[in-house]
């Protein structure tokens, strides 16, 4: 690599340090709050369309996978829009860093679901609890660049995930409440934290 290439590389490293240490302000409370409503709507749909999820595991997984994809797409679109509006040279770098923090949890959740559904469907009752624990890990990993109270959402998902594993036994494990309450309340909590942090930032700025 020539001197100029090395210089550009050094600048990229400096920028990446800056992006890693800056608070990520591109998660919108409205989009996160919307995912809480999505969880409630999916729970209602489950009670209507998949009344016996233990016997129709594929339908149950499809419903919640679609819900998760919809929630992720909503949040991703909102982040992209906010990052573009920010007109900051660092925005793209920050979005990449944030995606890098959440992707391992997302990939682990997806692969775990596929492996359990395919090879060990008798263990599928654990999935709601495991999803919540994996989301808790994702939140904790992203917390470094999020408002400090966001850890509360991480603790909430960890607690509800463990409670689901400890208390929910087949057939209760697949109850719509086991998904609607943890995700609905957790996302609403995250939205409120972002809303309050946004107000505090406006005062700082």
């Amino acid at each position: 690599m020539d001197d100029l290439g090395e210089a550009l590389d050094s600048i990229r490293t400096m920028r990446s340090h800056l992006a890693r240490s800056a608070e990520f302000r591109f998660y919108g409370p409205a989009a996160i709050g919307f995912t809480a409503l999505l969880a409630a709507a999916a729970a209602y749909l489950q009670s209507v369309l998949v009344p016996a999820p233990g016997a129709h595991l594929l339908a149950y997984l499809t419903l919640w996978t679609i819900t998760a994809l919809l929630a992720c797409s909503t949040i991703a679109a909102d982040v992209a829009l906010r990052a573009r509006r920010a007109h900051s040279g660092l925005a793209d770098e920050m979005v990449r860093e944030a995606a890098g923090q959440l992707l391992p949890a997302g990939a682990a959740g997806g692969l775990l679901t596929a492996v359990i559904a395919w090879y060990a469907p008798q263990c599928a009752w654990m999935l709601p609890g495991l999803w919540q624990i994996i989301l808790a890990l994702g939140v904790f990993s992203a917390c470094r660049t999020l408002p400090a109270p966001m850890r509360l959402a991480g603790f909430w998902y960890a607690a509800t995930g463990l409670a689901c594993l400890a208390l929910a036994q087949v057939p209760h494990a697949f109850s719509p409440w086991a998904m609607a309450l943890p995700f609905g309340i957790g996302e609403a909590l995250a939205a409120i934290i972002l809303l309050l942090a946004g107000g505090a930032h406006e005062q700082d700025d």
Binding site: L4, L8, S21, A22, S88
Partner: protein, 117 residues
Amino acid sequence: MSKTTEGRYAYEGLDRVIHEKARLGILTCLVSHPKGLAFSDLRRLCKLTDGNLSRHLQVLEEAEMVAIEKSFVDNRPHTSCRLTPAGRKRYAGYLNVLEQVVRDAEEAAVLLRTSPA
């Protein structure tokens, strides 16, 4: 922006306060430690003497880019330094201009290599 635009190569954003080797090192070090660093750690990481570091920190503090807090820890004086939000913003702007300078130089080098003798 056109290559012939007036001021295309003025690089106004190359902030003189930051554009000094030691101060650039100090700021980059503080960027990597958003909660701040003790004076002694900053001195060790930037390989500066006490006097040099104090002088550069004073410049950065006067420019409101760095906040210096003096306190007592275990009955011993403790000085910690951290980047201010304004410092972070100016540093980010500086990096943008610096990158533009290197890209322009790279482009010029490519042109020089490909143009017939």
